[in-house]
Symmetry: C2
Amino acid sequence: MKSKATSFDIAHYAGVSQSTVSRALRNSPLVSEETRLKVQQVAKKLNYKIDKNASNLRAQHSSTLAVLLFEDPTSDESNINPFFLSMLGSITRACAKQGYDLLVSFQSASDDWHADYAETHRADGIILLGYGDYIDYQPRFKRLLEEGTKFVCWGAQVDGSPELTVCCDNYSGGERVAEHLLNLRRKNFAFIGDASEHSPEFYERFLGFKNTLQNLGVKLSERNTIRAISTEASGYHATQSLLANNTDFDAIFAASDLIAIGVIKALQEAGLNVPNDVSVVGFDDLAVARFSLPPLTTVRQNTTLAGQMLVSNLLSLIDDIPVDASSALLPPQLIVRGSCGGEANAQG
Amino acid sequence: MKSKATSFDIAHYAGVSQSTVSRALRNSPLVSEETRLKVQQVAKKLNYKIDKNASNLRAQHSSTLAVLLFEDPTSDESNINPFFLSMLGSITRACAKQGYDLLVSFQSASDDWHADYAETHRADGIILLGYGDYIDYQPRFKRLLEEGTKFVCWGAQVDGSPELTVCCDNYSGGERVAEHLLNLRRKNFAFIGDASEHSPEFYERFLGFKNTLQNLGVKLSERNTIRAISTEASGYHATQSLLANNTDFDAIFAASDLIAIGVIKALQEAGLNVPNDVSVVGFDDLAVARFSLPPLTTVRQNTTLAGQMLVSNLLSLIDDIPVDASSALLPPQLIVRGSCGGEANAQG
DNA sequence: CTGAAAGCGCTTACAG
DNA sequence: CTGAAAGCGCTTACAG
């Protein structure tokens, strides 16, 4: 491997100074069209590429963003929630579009918060994805803020929290689910997910669901509210608990598609028909939702838009541009498929 | 935000020279225990972190690896193959374990090969994942090799190709599937996937399957070999074509789990029972395989091991250490679930 | 529009 | 074991 050309080599061959090479390559308006063309031509011929380390060091920024993806400590390490992976994809694309590189790091919640990407100048800003327990993380957010680290979270807006957040309007999603199920004349409801403030996204979905039912005179009993984390296995076992309760239910709102898949499996194994005996609704609209049997009615989160908002808001933060907080609440969309009965086959 | 401390600040407070600070922080044996402790203590107090750009520039390496994830151009951009995403996860973890950062880039096959991570010194080496058509990519590999770029591919070992590859023993996986189906007394076989040299991974699976059948006197007809890319939708449509052929079949080997999910859906919609009428086998063992109905018998690729091999082989390449090529062929594992009938419930 | 020069914050021979 | 000094390859005032 021949050693790489530097801007001095280009300068030499192009017959200009090194400063001019640098300007020409970054399309500075200070350089004449003619010079620029010549320099860029020579650079191309020598396969010259600007050394990022040098330019980052000099310019004091890295043109790089970092994503921290927190793993649910209870889930199998080889299976990261596909929803976050899909977010990862859209974030990557959004970064590329803005000319930023993306550093990725998976962290288990127990990790000692290795968020030193900003401090080591490896990244200009950080995107936090899927950290589990929001309450536990508040102190860490505070520390990041104090250090002046630029970061934005995907998740739920916790009241009074100063960090910048982008999320789906989970409450409204829960409302849509309740309305849909009520329209289908379902009478007895169950919720499977974590209905506590520790998982505010699930909690908001739960609240939107429960309150809408309540407003229309239907009560969601505590016995029909079963805790589950976002895995198929957890949904499966939670449903077995629900069945063991011997309560009545003809509709289940699962806080995520992964949970819903486990729910359907447990129901079918118990000899119940979905949707005839029980309607099931999920949340996320993973690819697999369309191919479950029956196809899963669910609430779609727009991950493409989410990735774009996360990146553009973070970039605004980095450039000290005020961020329009309202833009950070993304509208959910109810996708009706076959798992609730009634007006099935409507979409999807 | 107060401006970051530099090694000179630490030197000042610790009462030593800046060079000593640098040595102490990288645990150089040249520095005394006492001095090191003092320096590290001061560094911690001032929340000092080494500036990566500066140290990378000076040391002429980046301690960063890049992953290039190629998207299937025909697939929906928001849904990246979960298998690769799972690989991404294990690669990330393997990098972290070795003290390397990971840069991620998604590329559409049509992209002008933005693999300049190495040339710009942003990464010391590159991991190539999921590029679609291997034959089309040969010239690009050649160029990378010529430029002295260190890279390793996940995929299939193409004869005579000089690039370093890590992959599952796909041929052996196909053999296992044929044997299993034969043991279950299946008579008429079908394959759904891309049985061409353009997708060598699928092709190897196909070959292992077909040859094993052939050796035992069973022929896999061309009419029962249907082309599909690795999506549920493609598997679904391919199965509809297969059904339209009006040929006999009581067992389908789908080249991936995603395809298998589409296969099962199409079969069930056509009123066929899986596994009673038709056995179905997939490949990959995605999380969803366990939760399909019936649970999917499949061939597991060990993504954790794969990620580790990819990273460690790339690191060897970077350090000019000879790589044990035999270590790069990972053993597949047949996971028997309910989708083939017979000895179901064995595992999983 | 162009060039000479300083300097980003480190690592690492070199000298002691 | 420690320090003074050079230099990695750029960007960007400054002067012309």
